[in-house]
Amino acid sequence: MARKLGRTLSDDLGRWTLITLALIFVLLPIVWLAIASVKTRNAALAIPPEFIFTPDFSAYARIMSGGFLGAFQNSLIIALSNVVLTLVLGVPAAFALTRMHGKVQENLSFWLLSIRMAPLFAVILPLYVLFKSIGLLDTPIAVSLAHLTLTLPLAIWMLVTYFRSIPVDLDHAARLDGANAMQILWLVIIPIARPMLASVAIIVFIFSWNEFLLAFILTSRNAQTVPVAVASLAGTMSFDWPLIAAVSVASMLPALIFVGFAQRHIVSGLGSGAVK
């Protein structure tokens, strides 16, 4: 008993040291950003840094007065539509994949998983040509569609492994009751999978929200997203750190809120997807 307790204690010590170090590493930049966002321009550059200062919220006021609200709106539209598109396309596809066998399934799975092999810098021009030809340049929907290349394979991967864990017997039972595939998916599978769908939705939202290059290329003034707006700030004369920091802090808020609420869902959702 004593030996076991000793082992647990030393384990715990190692574990908590690791967790503490990890937290410092993870949180330091974020805390620093938050602090810089409420400093004055010169104070943000001062070395040694001032730890005690009067907070100055003018950077946030500048966000409100500038065009950033539009960028937030665009980012929100793009990420939300992308979530909808990804789920509408990905859920049936993933379900069908889990009910397939053999070479077709294997090749299809590989193709879907590896869809992002082409480097983005190389597909920028074709994508631009594509969206120009269908008149969608500088619209949120173009960015949403382009983001499918990132989010759809990820969502399908998460969903496939999850759906596989749902016994096929359930399908059979429903089929005996006269349900077609659509009804099975809608009435049997989706209700079971709700927590998983929530976690997929959040992950997809985050990936779409964060993406820069495609959003940058496909938009100009009407559909500019938050990361693009942040990047454009860098070209300014004064390199206004408090402003960049404030926009950055604001840019993490929406996703942070989601993650805060749904952390458990994300983990459990991914969990069923990760191990077969």
């Binding site: 070395i47 397939m100 092999m117 190389a122 394979p153 929200w209 191990v275 077969k276």
Partner: protein, 283 residues
């Protein structure tokens, strides 16, 4: 086939991805065989000329080294850290708050990550580079030195992308049935036995998926490096991604940039196939 419901369930996805991926990729293949320099008149077929020029250029050679170094270094650190964090936080008594805190970097756009770390590491005005490091006796301007800059982008990237891998590992760890461990413990197994006999084998799938996503992701990393170092000093952090971007948009040579893109597709496909065939059949 057409009567099969599965066909109709999959086809929208195939069409959607086909449009946004297959078309650009085809376009890219064509571009890689074209002489297409924006400042010169005419676009015409020139066979393998772009590839020859690419393979002969010193920029390609150095980018290969940088990409390899960045890829292996960052992935290795990421896997180890993500695994350690996941093990530390996988227990049933770990608080949700701790996990939520650990994954916060996930929600920060890489472009913001780049700015943040560039500022933190700056040797003249950065909190870490000009304050913490000198305080412990390190007077190095990381971003200004070839190796230091490479290390800096690795740190920032690790900071930004470890949480996603951590999530995958955490989830995988939690879905390993408890009784496996209990069974082996009854046989008197030590901690490291548990790790090597159960944890690691059970995690194989998760690790390979995580690495596959990571490799694709790392090859595409652009804005983080661009914002932090623009590929410098010199070319010491100029990866394929940055070189390709530069070739197209600074050098105006779309054919050469496309050739690099094709090379990258080939490399990733080989890596992905290997991972897929080895670990992920049936995923």
């Amino acid at each position: 086939m057409v009567k099969d419901w599965r066909f109709w369930f999959v086809i929208p996805t195939v069409l959607a991805l086909g449009t946004v991926v297959a078309f650009p990729t085809g376009f890219l293949l064509w571009m890689s065989t074209a002489h297409w320099v924006v400042t010169e008149p005419g676009v015409y077929f020139n066979g393998a000329q772009n590839f020859q020029t690419l393979f002969a250029s010193s920029a390609f050679l150095s980018a290969t080294g940088v990409t390899l170094a960045y890829l292996t270094l960052s992935t290795a650190i990421m896997v180890v850290l993500a695994f350690a964090f996941a093990l530390a936080l996988a227990g049933p008594h770990s608080s949700g708050l701790l996990r939520a805190l650990m994954i916060t970097p996930l929600v920060i756009p890489p472009v913001v990550v780049g700015f943040t770390w560039r500022f933190l590491l700056n040797g003249e005005i950065g909190f870490i580079g000009a304050y913490l490091l000198p305080a412990i006796g390190i007077e190095a301007n990381l971003l200004a030195e070839p190796l230091g800059a490479l290390f800096s982008i690795v740190i920032a990237d690790v900071w930004s992308r470890t949480p996603f891998m951590f999530l995958i590992f955490l989830a995988a760890l939690q879905s390993i049935p408890r009784d496996y461990y209990e069974a082996i413990r009854l046989d008197g197994a030590k901690r490291f036995h548990e790790f090597f006999l159960i944890t690691l084998p059970m995690m194989k799938g998760a690790i390979s998926v995580a690495i596959l996503f990571r490799v694709i992701d790392a090859l595409n990393t652009f804005e983080l490096i661009y914002v932090m170092t623009k590929g410098g000093p010199g070319r010491s952090t100029q990866t394929y991604s940055l070189l390709g971007w530069k070739t197209a948009f600074q050098g105006f040579d779309f054919g050469a940039a496309a050739a690099l893109g094709v090379v990258m597709i080939v490399v990733t496909t080989i890596v992905a196939l290997a991972v897929f065939r080895r670990f992920m059949r049936g995923v």
